[in-house]
């Protein structure tokens, strides 16, 4: 039945993009010299939130925010965004893919963070999202003084695409 096929394809695409987006963020964490323990220990909460809000189409972006806890305002030192495009493949054939080279390129261009830096993962969602256990509301740290660099689409599935961008201090 065509409806069932559509539901499965959309669900599979959401699961594929959610889990691989989290896996890619973990790659960035490790590749940038940050402690992967924090993301690993919260894996179930993070994956559940991202997958739930992708499936409900409320997820707009997932951000890895890196900050320096020694500064007075826990200032931003770097940031990676996975921005969701629900119409990336308007006539998507259900192909599921991940481009680790795009992630590796962003890691290489950004460089490593000092070991003292910490990080958190922020989901940008549209109003009306379902609540997910373990997540709380917050606001982004200021990106004033940073330049956003768009790398390209890193993950695709069905009609979904997840584009990757990173931030570096302007003038560096």
């Amino acid at each position: 039945m065509s409806t069932a096929v559509y539901v499965n394809t959309a669900t599979y695409a959401a699961t594929h993009v959610a889990t691989n987006m989290l896996g890619s963020i973990r790659s960035i964490v490790k590749g940038s010299g940050l402690d992967p323990g924090r993301i690993r220990e919260s894996w179930d909460i993070l994956e559940n939130g991202i997958a739930t809000w992708l499936a409900s189409r409320h997820l707009k972006a997932v951000t890895l925010e890196v900050y320096d806890p020694r500064t007075s305002a826990d200032d931003l030192v770097g940031r990676f965004d996975f921005t969701i495009d629900y119409g990336y493949y308007p006539d998507g054939d259900g192909d599921l893919w991940l481009d680790p080279d795009t992630v590796a390129y962003a890691i290489r261009k950004n460089g490593a963070f000092p070991a003292r830096c910490e990080y958190r993962i922020v989901a940008d969602t549209a109003p009306g999202r379902p609540d997910v256990r373990g997540w709380a509301t917050t606001t982004y740290r200021s990106t004033a003084g940073f330049t956003r660099h768009v790398v390209g689409t890193a993950i695709g599935g069905g009609s979904l695409g997840a584009g990757l961008a990173y931030y570096s201090r302007s003038g560096t």
Binding site: A13, W43, E47, G157
Partner: protein, 156 residues
């Protein structure tokens, strides 16, 4: 020792956490003595499933009695085909305490995962490119177990 193998559908049929929950269901019934140890390593196992190490090499369970169990995960289009053919185990090997387990892991992640498993005695990690050389349980009193000798079954 006899070996029983199973393949469990992973991403995109299930999230990485849901895949480990399906493996946990396969190995230990709810409220059994050994199930809590499986649930306690959910996040660690989910990381390994996401990296597809469990596609390349099996999770190996050595129960206190009965056959060794190897579980792999299927990913991508293979996952959708696998889900319909998932078969429960006749005896769930982690229902009782005393079992041991080996998880496959890539060399880039093995130090991190080994350190994370320090708090989980009896669950070890091995290089995904190594053969399965998991220690057998120490010799103890004979137990009333059974196993399927697949080699015998395949003999003409």
């Amino acid at each position: 020792m006899s070996v029983v193998s199973r393949t469990v559908a992973a991403i995109p049929v299930r999230t990485s956490v849901a895949t480990w929950q399906a493996i946990t269901d396969l190995l230990a019934p709810a409220n059994s003595a050994g199930r809590g140890r499986l649930e306690a390593v959910t996040n660690i196992a989910a990381v390994l499933i996401t990296a597809e190490y469990t596609r390349q090499a099996p999770v190996v369970v050595i129960p206190t009695s009965g056959p060794r169990v190897r579980i792999r995960t299927a990913h991508g289009t293979d996952a959708a085909e696998t889900q319909a053919g998932e078969i429960p185990l006749a005896v769930r090997p982690c229902a009782a305490s005393g079992w041991t387990m080996s998880l496959p892991c890539g060399i880039d992640d093995i130090e991190e995962i080994r350190a994370a498993l320090d708090r989980h005695p009896g669950i070890e990690v091995r290089d995904v490119t190594d053969g399965v050389t998991v220690d057998e349980p120490a010799e103890g009193p004979a137990t009333e177990g059974w196993s399927i000798d697949y080699e015998e079954m395949e003999r003409p």
